[in-house]
């Protein structure tokens, strides 16, 4: 797994992605402070948008292998595709987890919401960011181009959310990965159903596991 971490660290775009995740939520908090009054979800809403960073990271991690035939080099070093995928997944998870924790603490501090009870909610943010990054990673592995998944995911994460729109159509939409996962740390959600934080996390994790399973299978069978 260390090689995968090193590979990731060698990508300048990965650092940009990490920076995005680290800096956007605090920035948004400062921008928002003027407009919205404080509520139960202050700081956490901005952290939802900050998932942009992990999404980009996940996309890059998957896409970088396809660029320039690097995939052939990687496969020569680690013949088992399954192990390669596992190592990559691990690298992405670790990187995003660290970024998430740092960003959460920073953002909440700026928002003045860094209280004792925030601990479990910060954990929720970290898990959400990791799962979101893996989601982007898996989809990019499948589609081989990062553009489509990144577009959909970015648009969906911000104010103009498809998932949210779908909840108007069917209550089942509350089980989509991003909405379910957000339950892990957002208390004031405007969606139907009432998922407990842990349940929400599990739903999102299930989505990601299924996606990675499919992506892994396809990756395994595909020509390099």
């Amino acid at each position: 797994m260390r090689t995968e971490l090193l590979k990731l660290a060698g990508l300048p775009s990965a650092w940009v992605a990490a920076a995005l995740g680290l800096l956007i939520p605090p920035l948004l908090v400062t921008l928002n402070a003027r407009a919205a009054p404080a509520g139960t979800d202050t700081g956490f809403l901005e952290l939802t948008v900050g998932v942009l960073g992990p999404l980009v990271l996940g996309t890059i991690a998957a896409g970088s292998e396809y660029r320039g035939g690097q995939i052939r080099t990687s496969l020569v070093c680690v013949p088992s595709r399954a192990r390669l995928l596992a190592a990559k997944t691990g690298a992405v998870t670790l990187t995003v987890a660290v970024t998430a924790a740092l960003s959460a603490v920073l953002t909440l501090d700026v928002a003045g919401a860094l209280t004792g009870g925030a601990g479990p909610r910060i954990a929720g943010v970290v898990v959400y960011w990791v799962l979101a990054a893996l989601l982007a990673y898996g989809i990019t592995l499948l589609t081989r181009s990062g553009v489509l998944p990144l577009t959909v995911l970015i648009v969906n994460t911000t104010a103009v959310s498809f998932s949210y729109l779908l909840t108007k159509v069917t209550p089942l939409a509350a089980y989509l990965p991003d909405l379910a996962g957000a339950r892990m740390y957002l208390h004031d959600m405007d969606t139907p159903g009432d998922l407990a934080p842990v349940t929400g996390g599990l739903v999102m994790a299930a989505w990601v596991a299924a996606l990675l399973g499919v992506a892994g299978y396809v990756f395994h069978r595909r020509d390099a």
């Binding site: 980009v56 990062g146 553009v147 990144l150 577009t151 648009v155 729109l165």
Partner: protein, 175 residues
């Protein structure tokens, strides 16, 4: 202008662009049907931004820029032709989108496409272009937009600025 004709041919024969246009139309129709009252344009705007990014960044894949410059070494003229061709191709896509959505303005959509293409030309990379353009419009945009009204002159000014920056970059850089 033969350069513009070549640029048109390039755009029309790039499968990713047709795919993006098709997906955008499909999404617009779907949203218009499903979410009564909600304006599809803020969602569908992304399609046009991506269209612009893909159109511009395709030049930097496979070393195609060199082939282009070998046929058209005058770079300012090339940039002008590219802008015209992109506007020409995007307009019907925008018109259909507006018809499907029952709201919005085609000119606005064409302008943001040009803007996205300008940004992508400076960045030379599809993914970076997508992140910057979408990141601006969807993440930072809501804050900025509240301060300005809804006229067309602002997107037009931005599109022009982006295109000038792109042209300057193309003129200066080694191929």
């Amino acid at each position: 202008m033969s350069t513009a004709r070549a640029e048109l041919l390039k755009l029309v024969t790039l499968p990713a662009l047709a795919l993006t246009a098709g997906l955008t139309w499909g999404l617009t129709a779907l949203l218009a049907l499903v979410a009564d009252g909600a304006d599809p344009i803020p969602y569908v705007r992304a399609g046009f931004l991506v269209l612009g990014v893909l159109a511009a960044s395709s030049e930097y894949e496979g070393g195609q820029l060199r082939t282009t410059l070998l046929g058209t070494p005058r770079r300012a003229r090339l940039q002008l032709a590219k802008a015209l061709a992109l506007a020409l191709v995007t307009t019907p896509v925008a018109v259909v989108t507006v018809l499907l959505a029952g709201a919005g303005g085609a000119a606005y959509l064409v302008l943001i496409t040009l803007l996205a293409a300008g940004v992508a030309t400076v960045l030379r990379h599809a993914l970076a272009g997508v992140v910057v353009v979408l990141g601006y419009y969807y993440v930072l945009g809501p804050f900025v937009r509240d301060r300005f009204d809804d006229g067309l002159w602002l997107p037009a000014a931005w599109a022009l600025a982006a295109w000038c920056a792109a042209t300057a970059a193309v003129l200066r850089r080694d191929a």
